[in-house]
Symmetry: C2
Amino acid sequence: MYAGIDLGGTNIAAGLVDENGKIVIKDSVPAGAKRPSGEIIADMANLVKKLAKEYGIEMSELSSIGIGSPGLIDSDNGIVLQIANLNLANVNLAEEMEKLTGVKTYVGNDANCAAYAEHLYGASSGANFSVMVTLGTGIGGGIILKNKVYTGHRFGAGEIGHLIIAAGGKKCGCGRRGCFEAYASASGLINMTKHKAIDNPASLLNSIPINEINGKTAFDFAKQGDHASQEVVDEYINYLAIGIGDLLRILYPDVIVIGGGISKEGENLLVPLRKKLREEVAFDYETEIVAAKLGNDAGIVGAAMLEKTVL
Amino acid sequence: MYAGIDLGGTNIAAGLVDENGKIVIKDSVPAGAKRPSGEIIADMANLVKKLAKEYGIEMSELSSIGIGSPGLIDSDNGIVLQIANLNLANVNLAEEMEKLTGVKTYVGNDANCAAYAEHLYGASSGANFSVMVTLGTGIGGGIILKNKVYTGHRFGAGEIGHLIIAAGGKKCGCGRRGCFEAYASASGLINMTKHKAIDNPASLLNSIPINEINGKTAFDFAKQGDHASQEVVDEYINYLAIGIGDLLRILYPDVIVIGGGISKEGENLLVPLRKKLREEVAFDYETEIVAAKLGNDAGIVGAAMLEKTVL
């Protein structure tokens, strides 16, 4: 049995995971973002202990604990190198957790954990090489090569969101221009949808208040035949295809897994995306483009399995 | 002892290479691009036999023969899948060479061979992860991960020249818009220099006939203080940094090796490139950016060592 922890800015979710990647029990507690690191780590340790107790096993029966954390993680040593919303920078999470639990602990980047879970048990199961692209507020990524998480020279590989796909283009949150996530994240899509609403007063996009426009809006109204909404969807898919095309050209994986909120559009998103790739961007690549399968559980499952990767 | 063959559209260059990656003897014959495959293969076999004889060893003393070929190569089976200028499409080069020589033969893509040679014995020697970017007529690339050539799912990984870095931008020879090589290849630089000459009649760029402008012109006149030439160099380095930044974000290698004609500018190119990357594109990446060391020999040496990679 393994324990996996998905450490987020809002919640700490944890689960016990069996050899087949199945979560047998899970629970969560608030992350309490502003707290000192010691309190967060104590809560993670207590959560795992509680789950073990409820499931009726000793902590010593855990093969390992894995933690998926946001930020830049030194996964060789279990140290958080950079992190935005939690007071964990320069903390050796692995060591601290081991002190509190007596169980060997691994730490990895959360997006890499999700990609790893999909690779082992989800949408890219069976692939030699897979890449996960998570379309959320930003764009997260994880690269799995031959069943190992690929983190490159200093753990920063797979920063897919900040690929520059449009030199001199839209301003990105990172300060540069033309990043993939400025166009193809959920935020990018919402931004595009709002601009289109303003420029097309007759569009159905204006049938809801502009601040209620979300990542589903353009897809929903396009289905109802709204022309401006269809333009947004087409433009969005064009940029998504360009970024994914860049991944194909560099990495040529067997499978690309699309995750995050936008991936819930399913074939509605994937059919035109595959067509765009095949006809205009990447031609004869044989890479499968599929939606993520494990949803929010991917973070727990991938973290639990970190001991299986040489990070 | 190994034999390495660098198969080009113009010449077939071959050499015997020792365990330390040193070419002990080499020679070349014209490729004769329009000939049937059998003739080309016979010439390759005879060239290796001639070298062995001249060096005074038996063919049976060769550990293997490696061929670096342009095009898309099924390096698992030694088959040329796609190729532009030689009649070798769908030919099993490995099998045919083995019939003629009695020596185990490996085949790989030529850009990958050059990258592999630099990784083993050249500019990226000692790196865990390295990427070679060759700035020639197009942009070639090779990715080496932990001493193995990385070719992805179906041998097409590392197509760095066709990364889209400027969606909707300059037309590329491949038919798409905004590819890295449309901006940052030697051809891209020459094109940029010619346009700048036309738009700046007072520039030194107009002191030579426009059709004599080459990949050195802007660099040379910039050194003499020509403003328009400096603008070309700055613009060129900006685009080069964007493409290399994309490689850093996806792969985060220890070393990026810049090869091809433009790399002869050396630190004149690399100093501003590193500055651009650090200050505007990639911030705190620790990747070394260096010029290739092995020159034209890289193709022979990398091909000779193909048996050492699981392709």
